[in-house]
């Protein structure tokens, strides 16, 4: 396999094309097992106030596999200003320039506010952040984000946490065709085949949280996702056969023992 097997973000190489979230697990131990099993490129974390009444929240780190790159997010931010503030705090706390930029526009759909996302991207890129923006599947917005210096484009496959799988592949394909930075499909994947479909389209990676965390058996799903992302990528590289509108027998008709139609 070529170097194409690896995901490269802002000059750094990752051995996996899967990025996992760390939220919603029933227990931290389950999260740890899922992360060890999936062996993702990196894991996302949220940035929140330290709970001064509950010290147990500080044990989160003990359950993150050592050496796993951390991708802090700005989840829960509804303005560019809040997202920028959160990104700066994340950089200070976690000593990483990576930021998964999320500026949410609506609490019901959790769709991104793309105008604010673009605005925040410009500011954060100027401040030296490696910005991975969560965005809609709008190819024009994707181009603007890339022009603003985003390190990746992360269009949604379906609403965050919906598990619907990719609902509208065509605009994502438009983004894939034009983008010169990695396109990582973020949000909406529900099961392994969804991840494989996204990778078969040519996505550079997939980011997911709920699909693994809320599976009946998160550790088994972590393994399934790991394999699906690899299988999808391999299928993309292999180049699928063209779709046909008719059948085409796989076995030759010559040399049949019994002639057809006797």
């Amino acid at each position: 396999m070529s170097e194409d097997s690896f995901l490269v973000i802002a000059g750094k190489t990752y051995q996996s094309r899967l990025i996992l979230g760390t939220g919603k697990y029933k227990t931290l131990e389950l999260m740890k097992q899922a992360l060890v099993t999936a062996d993702p490129a990196m894991v996302t974390v949220a940035v929140r106030r330290v709970d001064l009444t509950d010290k147990s929240s500080q044990s989160f780190w003990k359950f993150l596999p050592a050496g796993l790159p951390i991708l802090p997010n700005t989840a829960g931010c509804y303005t560019a200003e809040d997202a920028i503030r959160t990104a700066r705090l994340a950089r200070e706390a976690l000593e990483t320039n990576l930021i998964k930029l999320e500026v949410i526009g609506d609490p019901k759909t959790l769709f991104p506010d793309v105008e604010a996302t673009l605005q925040a991207t410009k500011v954060l890129v100027k401040e030296g952040f490696t910005v991975l923006p969560y965005t809609s599947d709008d190819p024009i917005v994707a181009r603007r984000l890339e022009e603003a210096g985003a390190a990746t484009i992360m269009p949604l496959a379906a609403p965050i946490g919906s598990g619907q799988g990719i609902l509208n592949p065509l605009p994502v394909q438009f983004i894939l065709q034009q983008a010169k930075v990695p396109v990582i499909v973020d949000a909406g994947v529900g099961t392994a085949s969804d991840a494989a479909v996204v990778m078969e389209l040519g996505a550079a990676g997939v980011l997911m949280n709920t699909a693994v965390a809320e599976a009946q058996d998160p550790v088994a799903m972590a393994q399934a996702m790991k394999l699906a992302v690899k299988a999808g990528r391999l299928a993309y590289l292999a180049g699928r056969m063209p779709k046909k509108y008719g059948s085409s027998a796989s076995s030759p008709s010559a040399g049949l023992v019994t002639p057809v139609g006797r």
Partner: protein, 89 residues
């Protein structure tokens, strides 16, 4: 302990309180707290039992870099935020 009981009167934070010169009222992660004396950010973290390693601190919306925790004296009315990473997507 350098932290006294949390304040319930929100207006107290900006009012000078005579006779309590050693008391400093701050907002800590959105809650009003009264400190027993003028303390540094480092002393506050120590008192809260928070290791400085994986947190970030803001005083009045300005991030205080880790090496400066020990020299950042908390003043009356300061808005202090201490954040950390938790599970999330």
């Amino acid at each position: 302990m350098i932290i006294l009981a949390p304040l319930t009167n929100t207006s107290a934070i900006s009012l000078p309180v005579s006779g309590y010169n050693l008391c400093v009222k701050i907002s800590l992660n959105g809650d009003l707290k009264e400190l027993a004396q003028a303390v540094t950010l480092q002393q506050l973290l120590d008192d809260l039992g928070i290791p400085a390693g994986r947190v970030a601190c803001e005083v009045n919306l300005k991030i205080i870099k880790r090496p400066f925790y020990g020299e950042t004296l908390l003043k009356e009315g300061d808005d202090v935020e201490i954040i950390q990473a938790i599970g999330g997507g």
